[in-house]
Amino acid sequence: MSKPVIATTSLAGCFGCHMSILDIDERILQLIELVEFNKSPVDDIKTFTKPVDIGIIEGGCCNSENVEVLRSFRKNCKILISLGECAIMGGLPAMRNGIPVEECIEEAYVNGPTVQLNKERILPNDDELPMLLDRVYPCHEIVKIDYFLPGCPPRADLIWEALVALITGNPLKLPYEVVKFD
């Protein structure tokens, strides 16, 4: 039997959740035994090259590219996991929710205290650039998400236990300490 295939991505996140994946320390060697990584920053595979069993999503959706990546994950993965607060509830980026997107752009590129000089009011505007969404969306408001692992970042033990349970089919027993929202 071939090993289950995993893909991961970071959308509107800080890569902290990915750091936490690496935080499983030496168990990463075991993980490599258990699974094969496909598209993921971990192995730098940039496109899906085969059907994936488990897709792990860090970050919510703040722009059009996030949405497209998320949708392609849904298309290519049997199971999707929202990993961390941003994927689950928008997280820090979602603190802009409620502020009109115009104001956000204005603050970032025209009025912000770190903007030295932009008298021409030039806004980044190239077709290659993704477009900001009206607000930041949790992933499960865009595609169906099968599992949620909270935390900022989720504890490495939580990620490990959840993945092992998912791969082996063994029941998941989580100690109190590992499920945290911060």
């Binding site: 689950i88 109190y176 929202f181």
Partner: protein
Amino acid sequence: MSELIKFRIDGTECMAESGTYIVEAARQNGIYIPTLCNMPGVKPKGACRICTVRINGRMMTSCTTPVTQGMEIESNSETINELRKSIVELLFVSGNHFCPACEKSGNCELQALGYYYQMMVPRFPYDFPQKGVDASSPYLIKDQNRCIMCKRCIKAVRDDQGRPLFAFRNRGNHLEVVLDEELGKQMTPELAEAAMAACPVGSILVKEKGFAQPIGKRKFDNKPIGSDVAV
């Protein structure tokens, strides 16, 4: 002392003085019933509904209902737990509860109940309401994004003339808890501390203070809420 009476919680025989509220009576018998708006020493006001139990087929809040002789209370059942969990989730989506950025994280009772009921994601859509932050008092910050309208500060925090420093404003889903402008400016640092302590979440914060305890040492880091009760 009033008379001792017998009642049952989920079939377990319990005893308490008659007139004791169910929450307290349960606690005396080593049974934890989760609460949010309840606070020792102030009159209860069944606002959060977390402590709902079922008695004779009726939903009652156990913080406001006194035990009576022979009462049969259903508390730790699937239906009631599911109800409580969904109320916790409802409170999460109706505010902007972003735990990683909150000074109260680890000591927050709402968060602790999220852990208690293993909330991985709320079942309801996030509302992302637009709410303000009032930092006009020299001592306090009142962050409306995190307020759960439990009324604890309204009831518990009064100045030396007995005037309440906090009050509701508006009603329904426009409801807010506000700090009195004038009294907020005159308040003592001790009262500010008391206000922060009265708040179960991170809506009332003493200025220039936060993240004092490291992760791992906070109230609910290692032990679930209610651990002090359950036997």
